[in-house]
Symmetry: C5
Subunit: 127 residues, 5 copies
């Protein structure tokens, strides 16, 4: 099996990758991780010519990443669809932190704008 694919792929089939983000499993393809933002830290973790040592795998063969699964989900969906879509119960600030960590630069200004226009959340002073 070619690194980092974890399902035996058809000759020209996609390379599937399982991620364990903070304890939750996500399944995606290397193309999704690399295609839209090839300069991001996330893409470089899974690029073939990478010098970065990728993270370890758990007993299911999933790459472990020490970050929040809730907010990662929004970024992964962005990498799939090209859209930043936030459900009502997800904080843009949480996604922004992950975008900075993973170096997914193109979504940062979008998320900053979302925070600015956000209704002040419960308990946050307005200053």
């Amino acid at each position: 099996l070619k690194w980092p694919c974890d399902v035996a792929a058809a000759p020209r089939g996609p390379c599937w990758v399982t991620l364990n983000v903070g304890g939750k499993h996500f399944m995606t393809t290397r193309n999704t991780l690399i295609g839209k933002e090839p300069q991001s830290m996330l893409a470089r973790m899974f690029s073939e010519e990478s010098q970065m040592q990728p993270s370890l795998t758990d007993s299911f063969g999933a790459f472990v990443i020490d970050r929040s699964p809730t907010y990662f989900e929004v970024l992964l969906n962005y990498l799939r669809t090209g859209k930043v879509i936030l459900d009502n119960n997800v904080s843009p600030e949480g996604v922004l932190e992950e975008a900075r960590y993973f170096g997914i630069e193109n979504v940062i200004p979008k998320l900053e704008a979302m925070m600015q226009f956000q209704v002040p959340s419960e308990g946050m002073p307005l200053t």
Copy 2:
């Protein structure tokens, strides 16, 4: 076991299919996937005469699909009931993206109408 069913079925029983959408398992029947929107990409993936190579299966025998489980759930429920039902914490835009990807055409105008009448979500400028 006849492709793509993953539970030994009674002679005239339903053909059960397990999907792994982005890391989350869904269980449904081939009839649900094909019946209501036979021309959709999702239906064609699981049709008998399909020329499309269906996606691979994970170690549980579930077909892996590199998309968002949150929004897929709404579409799968539509295929079961014929209704597009959105809980408060699910964005219609997210479901719309999946409807376009899977080619489930009949729900697209409904979802577009839902987005138009939607209360501006947190942080989105009104322009």
Copy 3:
């Protein structure tokens, strides 16, 4: 083990049943499924004198049902407590569809009333 119980029961102990509704497991007793609405389709699936072939079981011994787990949960809780209780993020329309499917007749007028008084949800025109 007596059908459909899936845990070895004490002589007069309850008969436990595991359901796989759309990919999510629920654990309950046959008494809960049958007691409050014995004429429902759900009750008849698990009655002893049933002519209906019950659905198949997955590899965990759970009966597979091709419906939405989110809305089924509300109905199952109704069968346990006698109350229809909706959290803010659960659509009454979604529960209503399941109540009709499973033939749980007594909750249908309650859910229809809930829909009528419901604040128009995001994106739904008022007509």
Copy 4:
């Protein structure tokens, strides 16, 4: 292993108990279940001198209880912290039903007060 503990404990370590409430696993200690409300039905299920036959265990060794996991979670947290804390998407009425079932008497007036002051939920007539 001493009943009902399911992890080999250090001599004076806590006695861990796993519960399967309606299909969802919770892990806690016997002290939590018994300490704050020793007269509750839940405490008596797990007391040493109990005459009540405790519920059966599933294949993971978890005690099966035929109730709603969503609302049980709030009660278990109360037993841990002494506080009744409701997130926005959890109905006080749902928790109240479970408090009555499990006989956790001290939270009942608090939950009744929460229901009285509650903003009328969607679809509920005001009468």
Copy 5:
């Protein structure tokens, strides 16, 4: 394998730790648990020179902790990012209780401020 790491690490790789908080698994590194608030009870549980007996491990090798997973998730994310981020459906009071339990002192004033400015939650009298 060096205590408490549960994945064979590369020579200078991180030490991964799995926690079972109230029945839910979280995966993180010892650096995250210890780095930002080394004086907290949580950090001391996993420090090398600790006199505290760490909690037991479940059958997956995860350290069991008898607390709420919902609110712990916010604290763990704080330890990763340095920010206290609350989604709409998470009560600041719930996180505050956990911060006090785990001795994560720096977030306590932030959470107290969030509670003070919070919109009165459903059913809570204003007194």
